[in-house]
Subunit: 250 residues, 2 copies
């Protein structure tokens, strides 16, 4: 299985601390990694088919403090599709003049939907197939970009039939909101004033967020497993889809 990490904030925020924790888990999840940062509607998406522990791209991500309100990261342990760049999450497509990113943790069996429209997989994963179908069906359901509550309703309807095929934990964003759907394991946390210190689960690193924030900052983090030891992470229930915007669940 893979590991997901998402960030949604009310102000551009860097993810270096959390990404460092995620990258520590890349000993087991060694089949590539990717991270996508929105800056307004613009997008940076870094992918590598090497492990996040020794990839020069991951090294740059840890040192280069990209600040963003919407971040989706993934480290991969291949279940379907070989280790190759085209099978590395997050996947990106354009719809309604916006970029959409998608990363999946899980394994879908026998999900081979009709892809008759403008979205086709480039690689061989069940994940990219699911994303292409979500994009196709979103495009069918709405003539133009709907607001976040309407998108949330549609995504909730679309996720359910896919989830019947196996485990379908995913993160998705178009730069205005970040959606998290749980099937087996996904946890979230809001950091806000008064900020304290937190210690990574997987590395001997502690950050005192009070030193790096202003009282109005608010950040939601979503991860496969809690990334820190001393914060109140909550599990997302199986089948639940949560939309995050402005650093909190809607």
């Amino acid at each position: 299985m893979c590991q997901l990490l998402g960030l949604n904030a009310n102000t551009p925020t860097d993810i270096a601390f959390s990404f460092t924790g995620l990258a520590e888990r890349a000993t087991e999840h060694k089949d590539g990694f990717g991270i996508a940062f929105f800056e307004g509607p613009g997008l940076r998406c870094f992918v590598d088919d090497r492990s996040a522990r020794d990839s020069p791209v991951a090294e740059m991500v840890k040192r280069f403090p990209v600040r963003s309100e919407h971040i989706v990261a993934h480290i991969r342990k291949a279940t379907q599709g070989r280790v190759a760049l085209q099978n590395t999450h997050p996947f990106v497509r354009e719809l309604w003049g916006r970029y959409w990113v998608f990363a999946h943790n899980g394994d879908l069996k026998g999900f081979c939907p009709k892809l008759h429209a403008a979205f086709r997989p480039v690689g061989e994963t069940d994940s990219e197939r699911a994303f292409c179908w979500l994009m196709q069906e979103l495009a069918k359901n709405h003539a133009r970009l709907p607001d976040v509550p309407a998108l949330t309703d549609t995504l909730r309807e679309l996720a359910a039939p896919i989830a019947k095929h196996g485990s379908f934990n995913f993160l998705m964003s178009h730069g205005d909101a970040l959606w998290a759907h749980a099937s087996t394991s996904l946890h979230w946390l809001v950091r806000e004033h008064p900020f304290g210190a937190a210690r990574l689960q997987d590395a001997d690193v502690t950050v005192d967020f009070a030193q790096h924030t202003t009282p109005s900052d608010r950040v939601a983090l979503i991860a496969t497993e809690p990334l820190t030891r001393d914060e109140p992470w909550q599990a997302i229930a199986p089948g639940e889809l949560i939309a995050f915007a402005q650093g909190r669940p809607l």
Copy 2:
């Protein structure tokens, strides 16, 4: 105006030497840069809205020897669209289950085609608009991915009406071939056995390619202006479109 750099090779090749020369030109062309590398159908695309001279992403590209058979790079001097990530070339879309990348040097006046299909610009540039129209019309002209000669014929027909709107030098690739269209300035060169040494126009750097190649290697380079002083660069004629594959023009 911007600067383009393309590479097409018959074996995965790194572009560090040529990219170093291009980045030197980023004093004037300071409004962002981007570089896309195909690895089979997979794609890495690095973009930054900072200058290639001081971007940490550019620094990583210079040091991390990504080897690829198809590379498209661009440094930007903004003419249309503000300095922002969504206006940074190369642009990427998916069609027929393949990624397509596009970078443009020039300025199109009054090119506002009907974009009624699945490809919409995210940013505000004439360049991304032209790319979306090319993708839309390619999709209309062919039901599935055609071979490179057929794509070349279609692209030649489609480029002509766009080029009437101004200067339209572009590079485009889908990982099987690289197309170069000239309108005002684009030059190309093939490096093959016997390899010699070359000195960058813009920096005091010399490489002896004989030390880094095997006799069967062949590399085509395409650039707005010749990048080296002592090699036989050829100009592409205005209105001409050349398809490169296996390190040479078809």
